[in-house]
Symmetry: C2
Subunit: 309 residues, 2 copies
């Protein structure tokens, strides 16, 4: 725990930190006083780990936020409110359905000068626009972005503390792929590392495990879901159970890099439940996140009932 405190003391707050906290505060205040729906903090995308003070290079990971952005949509479909804490430029709920690379190909200029989406694309995109606008009108989605590991952890702590007074109405869905390793500021070179110095030796330290502080101090009553990603299937369940025992939160979702889009396992203190897409569902374009979120909603409702007895 002392390590977590030390990390925050040594790592500066991200740019625009106060403005972001104010927005999160306002969002939660509105929901605390006026409504009775759960608020899910969905974290999404990878964190960067700078290798230099004037950062040119950093360590990153493959995540582009597919799991987080899809899950956020399905939580919104369930009527929940969502704070979407995501890596800048990663996928966002609803916007992820737009063609990312060839957007200009689908826009055409009308004779009256208006700019219109081509008819053949229009129907699919209109549905997305409609869902997005309705969620925004209802004030149920807040987008907050981060880039580095330090940015992410500062925002995670701040948001958790803001959510804490909501008690069990708060859900944490930690889908962001957070780095396990980093270089502390005081051990980082100031300038770009020169290739003329020859091969590069990097020493990275372990990032303190924040889940302990999160569960025990920042968000004591919330329903907390973490993820465990492995490439070696033999390690998965053991590592998931280890996290659960160590931190005492509610659910670990285990997944393997190569099969994560159609197979996950929900690991709790009481057992394991596998969630899979069958081949028909895969062909039909069903996303596994719809099943994951449905499963969590059932578990969460039970959790709330048990807590109120």
């Amino acid at each position: 725990m002392a390590e977590a405190v030390d990390f925050f003391n040594k790592t500066s707050e991200p740019p625009g930190f106060q403005v972001k906290c104010d927005k999160i505060n306002e969002f939660c205040r509105d929901h605390r006083t006026c409504r009775d729906i759960p608020i899910v903090l969905v974290t999404s995308g990878g964190t960067t780990v700078p290798l230099e003070g004037n950062t040119v290079r950093f360590i990153d990971n493959f995540s582009i936020g597919t799991r987080g952005s899809a899950s956020a949509e399905y939580f919104l479909d369930q009527g929940y409110a969502v704070i979407f804490l995501h890596r800048a430029r990663s996928l966002q709920p609803f916007a992820r359905h737009l063609p990312q690379t060839h957007l200009l190909d689908i826009l055409q200029i009308q004779p009256d000068g208006c700019l219109q989406v081509r008819e053949e694309e229009s129907q699919k995109i209109a549905k997305v626009v409609e869902r997005y606008h309705s969620v925004m009108r209802e004030g149920r989605l807040l987008l907050v972005d981060f880039t580095s590991l330090g940015d992410y952890l500062h925002l995670l702590r701040a948001t958790s503390r803001i959510l804490n007074p909501l008690g069990k109405r708060a859900i944490l869905y930690l889908a962001a792929a957070v780095s396990d390793f980093y270089i502390p500021v005081d051990k980082m070179p100031e300038h770009k590392i020169q290739s003329s110095n020859g091969p590069l030796q990097l020493s990275l330290e372990l990032v303190p495990k924040m889940l302990e502080a999160l569960v025990k101090h920042w968000l004591q009553e919330a329903y907390i879901v973490s993820f465990k990603l492995e490439t070696n299937p033999d390690l998965l369940i053991g590592k998931a159970r280890q996290a659960l025992n160590k931190y005492g939160h509610q659910l670990v979702i285990g997944n393997i890099l190569t099969t994560r889009k159609h197979s996950v396992v929900m690991v709790t203190q009481n057992g394991e439940e596998s969630i899979q897409l069958n081949s028909g569902e895969i062909t039909a374009g069903v996303e596994i996140e719809t099943k994951i979120v449905e499963n969590i909603v059932t578990r969460y409702n039970k959790f709330c009932e048990e807590q109120s007895h």
Copy 2:
């Protein structure tokens, strides 16, 4: 040079390599036979360096392709053809002007069901759409993407070889931020590195300097422009001149991380020329790439004249 050959032997071709090469071949064939305009290969964005065989983590750099995508547009404005070899999901010419994050906010559904860009945004975006569609109609822009260092170098070599028969009609504008360090495949762990093993020591080797092979073997008559980015101003000119002397190409554009958007220096065998934006230009939103490209066009025309004498 043996190191470069060794790198290619050990690094597998990127996914879809042959399809990409076929497209580049076709694009160059059309231009070789039918037109008499220069073809610029613009490289853009950063390369990733995987740390694991089943890649979860990689080293990346801060580049999102601002320099490359803006420059590509200005080369197109000059009437040139452009092969835009860019990092997947980085900025692209024309598309970079679209609002990246709040695109759904500017789309609205009309009473007749059509999807339209809001009037207040429409005019600016229509101009971009018009420029993009006209360039595509004229077949002057080819987009090719890459992700890792290996992908990039395989595509750079292939494209250079395809361009070689064009002689001095080919221009290389190497704006991509290519990693100086990598971990060879045979020294990479297969599975995700476990944090339970404690702090992480990484040993990265130097990426062979490909510019030598490029200038001497792949593209012998082309006009070649490379970039040098530093964070320490004291090193910049020396490093730029060093590259020029070593590889014998035409131009190095030097820039400093913090001032790169309004100041660069063009370094050649004959001297240095500074290009800057004044405060009026910065306020007016002028991009330095328009000046860089104009400057290169003048230099390139002179280069062609000299070569033909």
